[in-house]
Subunit: 223 residues, 2 copies
Amino acid sequence: MINKPEFSIPEPTLRRLPRYYNYLKELLKSGREIVSCTHIGKDLDLDPPQIRKDLAYTGIRGVPKVGYQIEVLLNSIEEFFGWNNMDEAFLVGVGNMGRALIDYQGFRRYGFKIVAAFDNSPDIIGKTFGGVEVLPLSKLTNLCSRMNIKIGVITTPDHAAQEAADMMIAGGIIGIWNFAPAEIRTPEGVIVQNENLATGLAVLSKKLQILKQSGKFRQEVDQ
Amino acid sequence: MINKPEFSIPEPTLRRLPRYYNYLKELLKSGREIVSCTHIGKDLDLDPPQIRKDLAYTGIRGVPKVGYQIEVLLNSIEEFFGWNNMDEAFLVGVGNMGRALIDYQGFRRYGFKIVAAFDNSPDIIGKTFGGVEVLPLSKLTNLCSRMNIKIGVITTPDHAAQEAADMMIAGGIIGIWNFAPAEIRTPEGVIVQNENLATGLAVLSKKLQILKQSGKFRQEVDQ
DNA sequence: TTTTTATCGATAAATTTTTCTCGATTACAT
DNA sequence: ATGTAATCGAGAAAAATTTATCGATAAAAA
């Protein structure tokens, strides 16, 4: 049903790697220089062999009895994801979520930068948030092609999501990060990453429900 | 390494269900009353048997040749997650992400409501966002117990996350939805749901990278 | 009424992902 | 120098998840 690239990386691995990355950044800041999978496993509550396997996907090799040099490991992950070549993106829908993403400087770390925002509310067009100007939606498609932007972020209400996507795609965008709780139809060759905040909440609330019902158990959960 | 409850539901299923839920809400709004897995599968690009299996976890049964009544299906999912009993939550860290979550009314749909926010910046203590007052952090623990709050949301900078968690846990919170890019250590019996926005971005950027390298393929991706 | 078709539920097969095992390597202690 | 312990990598085994198959059921068509 879904075409996969030749050498596919397990999606769970793909989802764990950013977690390692954040954790390793913290660790490096705390003064540590070398770390083993055993050590990581203890802190992240994961099995060492799995961590080893995940990290191996980025092409790194560890040293027996020692582990990995954290700095090299961080570079390896950065390179794996391509976080070295900065990706510029447009954002549509300057509500609270949109502003949160614009202001969140943390994305720079991941080679990701929102360079312009679009909305069709006259109240906010022309205003600037976190150094990013809000432009009228009508300019979206044209600017996409002119600036050769390939990634779009949708933070509109759900009823406006499809239109935003259509305009993006018309402008040549091939990757859409969709925060609107709506399904977006796209032609082939466009990748949609649906980011439904409710998913995390749902998983959490279900686990709590089970916890309440059936005694105590410990569980750490991601994303 | 991780204890699981007796009857565990596959996590992928848990993550797909909210997506079905949103989709079905849309569908119902558009006038449809009955839907089959085949139909859902076409729209969501998933295999019908998988959808059937996922939905079966909520306890619903379909009718051959017909499918499911959308309204009944929605109820079934709501009940499965316990979205009928509203869960009240506290939020710590009233930055942009915090405000985005406070203002996002959409969570009501999932039986989730942020009833108070905490921060230790004098600039915002006392202010109100989306009807939610910002209180000083020092009141967190005490209010947690007094109001019997069980869910906490952390949207602080990473260095403040552990402290926020500790205060929450001291107040009796057992479920933490953590948006800070930091690992939180918790005692047994506390569930942490790490919500790392960068994960979605990482997955998207990796897929784009592969797409650019190896010709075209279509892919829809979630969370 | 009978036949055809779509869809379901249940189960089996295939695939993917995680976990385990084991020999090899390196640091540290003796 | 030699032995011991920690950790790695690679591959095997186990577990979980997805996909396919098949008989049953209900609606629609003949």
